[in-house]
Symmetry: C2
Subunit: 230 residues, 2 copies
Amino acid sequence: MAQDVTRPSLSDALTERVLELIRAGGLRPGDRLPSARELSERFAVTTPTLREALRRLEATGAVQMRHGSGIYVGADLERVVIPNPNFRRLQADQMLQLLDARLLIEPPLAAMTARRADPADLDRLGTALDQAGRHLEGEDAELDTANRTFHRAAARASGNAVLGEVIDSLLSVHASEQREILRIFDDRARDHDEHRAILAAMKAGDAERAEELMRAHLLDVKSVIESRLT
Amino acid sequence: MAQDVTRPSLSDALTERVLELIRAGGLRPGDRLPSARELSERFAVTTPTLREALRRLEATGAVQMRHGSGIYVGADLERVVIPNPNFRRLQADQMLQLLDARLLIEPPLAAMTARRADPADLDRLGTALDQAGRHLEGEDAELDTANRTFHRAAARASGNAVLGEVIDSLLSVHASEQREILRIFDDRARDHDEHRAILAAMKAGDAERAEELMRAHLLDVKSVIESRLT
């Protein structure tokens, strides 16, 4: 029995019970769960079985296991969509489809963000751009992270959390090929200025301009990628 | 050591090695992997450790374990985004955000589908609607499945696989509350007629009309849900 790895798993039920424990306890992302020992005892299972359930939950962002510290509720528990954690390499056609997907979604979200113009959200966007500004001459990875933070935060500030998750997922793809192309051929300063102009339109509450500038910006990115791929 | 459930896991590396095995072998969704015994031997690990890695991959759709049959490459391996497998209950505000997300994405995809008008895709859409037609008086669950198949296939037929995955993920949410509301208050026949009209516009290659009809259809769904929630 122990050798039949495909048998319907105790960890299916156990995964469900851990989720119930989180939900019934009203636990939020970052909250700490009982220790592994307590969980094993509570559910009357062995450590390997508990571990199997926890690793499944970890793979999908529902829990976070910090070595030597404990088990915490993960940030992705209540999300509708998540990035595929097994995804590795973007094919050329997927790279362009990804940009087309962003082109469809991000400009209207930029308009929504401009319409809401929540001061705390706009501050966060400004902070991300200041961060990017400090890395214009520096490390690619840090500039890239700051720029993605800007796009993620702009989508989330639209007020539609589901679409925010979609954009977050699309930006989570390990697009090293895309980064490489942009590193060599893109104009970092122009890119940064475009981000600044989008934020200025949002701050001015100019929805139409925010949408138009976001579209033009993504079309710029797309044309750089497209010209190197084809 | 065996008791420290949070220690950096051997299964992290093992998960990666199973994925490498799939990729290096050029295996496609539905292809069979070596048996659990062979995998344990090849990677020199115990069954519980192998099982942990496989369950993680299963939770995210990268492999499928069929009881008594074996281990297969899963359908979601190459996807960019996946539905959150831990998601359980849609809150009222998420339900409306979900519909707004679909309203933003599905109408332009309907236009793209009409422009491409791939005969095999259009046949699939027709089959889904025939299926739905047979269940108009029947079981809710079967009608619901057929209707979702239509929306999924319409998005996929646009030619943008990434956006197809996004819509697939949004439709995978266990929206039992949404189904319940529609079951009681929606007009099944009208809903079906709207699907038929969308497909007719796609078949006629009328992108503008397909987009407009899809938008009107989703607005109908939204207004039913909205009027019951507020």
